[in-house]
Point group: C2
Chain length 243, copies 2
């Protein structure tokens, strides 16, 4: 069968992703939310994805660390963990107070001044709400905000960005009860759209260019609601088969 050529070029892209360039190096106490609000124009239903590192820096979540002393690094990781799942060499897979399972309790050494490490925000959903509120107050736009971080995964090599905080956008898109294209009830029912948005934004930001945020435009209105990552994405130990 033949499909009409050029068909998809008749409609605009469903989504676009634009990195926010030109922000200065962020330091403790900086008004990151205000800088992000001023850095571009926003439309309703834009999704602003901000990397954990600049949020942690602005919130002063930095600790001194002696890189010549592996015990120092280990002590900080253990301090930021509520449960250690695995150890191999210097690598610790642990659960943070938020409930995130990740390497080294999410403590980050890259793109941080020498001698310092960045801890995760204390409450990354609250960090997202603050940015959302400031953008709304300054621009009038009702946007979603995602705080992203870079996690490894079991079974698959390579890291991807996921959401560790969100505001204004529902972390999980619940399709339970929706029919599929053939009219049958969906088997796959709960899509972690904030994780997919964090991954999409990472593609535009990269890791070595110092770009700390990106705007995803084109998300459907029905994705926007209240709810946070810690409540909706973190799987409770009782329903988790791998803890």
């Amino acid at each position: 069968m033949t499909v009409e050529p050029g068909k998809i070029d008749e409609h605009p892209p469903d989504l676009s992703i634009r990195a926010i360039r030109g922000l200065p190096e962020i330091r403790p106490g900086d008004d990151l939310a205000g800088m992000l609000a001023d850095a571009t124009t926003y439309e309703d239903h834009d999704v602003l994805v901000v990397t954990q590192k600049v949020v942690s820096k602005a919130e002063g979540r930095l600790v001194d660390i002696d890189f010549d002393d592996p015990r120092g690094h280990k002590a900080i990781v253990e301090d930021e963990s509520v449960r250690i799942l695995r150890r191999r060499g210097d690598l610790i897979i642990s659960e943070t107070e938020h409930g995130f399972v990740c390497a080294n309790a999410g403590i980050d050494l890259s793109n941080v001044e020498a001698g310092q490490a960045a801890l995760l925000p204390v409450d990354s959903d609250r960090s997202a709400r603050r940015i959302r509120d400031v953008v709304r107050a300054r621009t009038g736009a009702e946007i979603g905000v995602i705080i992203s971080d870079t996690f490894g995964r079991p079974w698959r090599r390579g890291v991807t960005d996921v959401a560790i905080g969100s505001a204004g956008i529902g972390p999980i898109l619940d399709l339970r009860g929706h029919p599929d294209a053939l009219g049958r009830e969906m088997q796959v029912t709960e899509v972690a759209i904030v994780d997919e948005l964090a991954a999409a934004a990472e593609l535009a930001m990269g890791k070595s260019a110092g770009i700390p945020a990106a705007v995803v435009r084109g998300a459907p209105a029905e994705w926007f609601r209240s709810g946070g990552v810690v409540d909706e994405i973190v799987r409770s130990p009782s329903e988790d088969l791998f803890r």
Copy 2:
């Protein structure tokens, strides 16, 4: 400090994602690659993301299944698995012959005709190469192709799309030895860009509209090289802490 307003609006989006609409229901033996080649125009360095389900259908990877008999479903899952990791109720987390760890060996019941289930492609990297070759032959464009599927993850609720096959685009972007924005060597070194691209494409395709493919435009030229998902993304049991 003040950032010049409107700064990011001066440059075009870094990435855009466009769903491919208008494809018919795919059946065993259909020339899916040809249909995808004809369905739109391509530019060099576009990434075409195609869902596993239509690839499996076109390749005839369908089996009859009696939904009233849970033993029938279980037998098919076990048949498609080389190792069972966990069981809970009807859910089986297992490793497929490709090395993917996922629920029910990746066997899919939604958007498939009643009474049938779709198995994973036998060699999903080869499936991607075939589509890449046909698009190149018909359009002249050098594109990347990703076969995507929807997987759950431990520790986090909700599913996301990941890559189960690829061609023309390097599954892992290796940043080892690259300096970060502050000139220090990167801590995070290997980014699973094909998984992030699969996730980004899912956002434009959705799960209930019957859209089986999307084109991501704007990927940097250096992402394009040979290599497949099974070789580069599947983590060997010896380096895996959770198998």
